[in-house]
Amino acid sequence: MKTKQDFPAINERKPDGFRPDGAAYRVLIVDDSVFVAKQLSQILTSEGYDVVATSGDGQAGLDAYKELYPNLDLVTMDITMPKMDGITALEKIIEFDKNARVIMISALGKQDLVKKALVMGARNYIVKPLDRKKVLERVAQVLLK
């Protein structure tokens, strides 16, 4: 009997989580919801990305960015968070590293804030509820640019 494994894996796609040099892209997740952070982390990890840190507010996210820099490829940034919101954290991260790649994670109905973030230098945004396909598409778009 032939099983799937007997066939050569010619159609096997390389997961998007790896850089051309073979190392995993390193991601920082900034979100005050442990649920959203876990969801993002599971989606990204399943595609090979390396989630190197998770921060629960904008200030902690900014601190983590500075600490991890330059060994970091991407940040996912929630908007509504205690202490420092995601727009302010984005601003400070871009101030520190103008090439920072930040994707905003937004609830529906925050178009004005998302626009502001994009003007300030965020590379893209994802609207919740998150699904695997949407997250992976947006992340890959940002990293391939």
Binding site: S33, V34, F35, V36, K38, Q39, Q42, T80, A107, L108, G109, K110, K128, P129
Partner: protein, 155 residues
């Protein structure tokens, strides 16, 4: 309270629950009115509204339902109503409210939301001064979730 305020919440709850509970059978029950203080079922996520209209929306369910819903949303069986489970219910409230508010903004109402807070406990009561609450029960395979809306136009 005008009934038109609650419809966007019911529609949004229906859409979001369908999506996060993976196309399960979600049904809308009969709307009813409650005045004065409202006893809650055990787990309640509350979102405040402030602006042209003010008030609050409560997503109310018992602990078993909260745990079952959070388990589906996490793709794993959660054993207790811990921080992760609470954050999951909070996020559910967040998503439903955000979708409803987008509709209300389109209808011309301007207001902001407070971030959702979650309360758990037995024999809890939420008292709304002079505001009657409209309640729409949503039936899901995980149990009943009541959308409890108390909103008034600012005087």
């Amino acid at each position: 309270m005008r009934v038109e305020y609650i419809n966007p919440f019911v529609e949004a709850a229906f859409n979001v629950l369908k999506e996060v509970l993976v196309n399960s059978d979600v049904r809308r029950g009969e709307l009813y009115l409650k005045s004065a203080s409202t006893p809650v079922l055990g787990v309640a996520a509350i979102v405040g509204l402030a602006g042209d209209v003010e008030g609050r929306v409560l997503f109310d369910m018992n602990r078993d339902t909260a745990l079952a819903v959070a388990s589906v949303m996490n793709g794993e069986q959660l054993a207790t109503l811990d921080d992760l489970a609470k954050a999951t219910i909070t996020e559910l409230a967040n998503m439903i409210t955000a979708q409803a508010v987008t509709k209300l903004h389109d209808l011309g109402f301007q207001f902001d939301l407070t971030p959702p807070a979650i309360f758990t406990g037995d024999n809890m009561e939420v008292s709304d001064q002079d505001v009657e609450a409209l309640i729409v029960p949503m039936e899901t395979p995980q149990g009943k979730i009541e959308i409890n809306v108390a909103i008034r136009e600012r005087a």
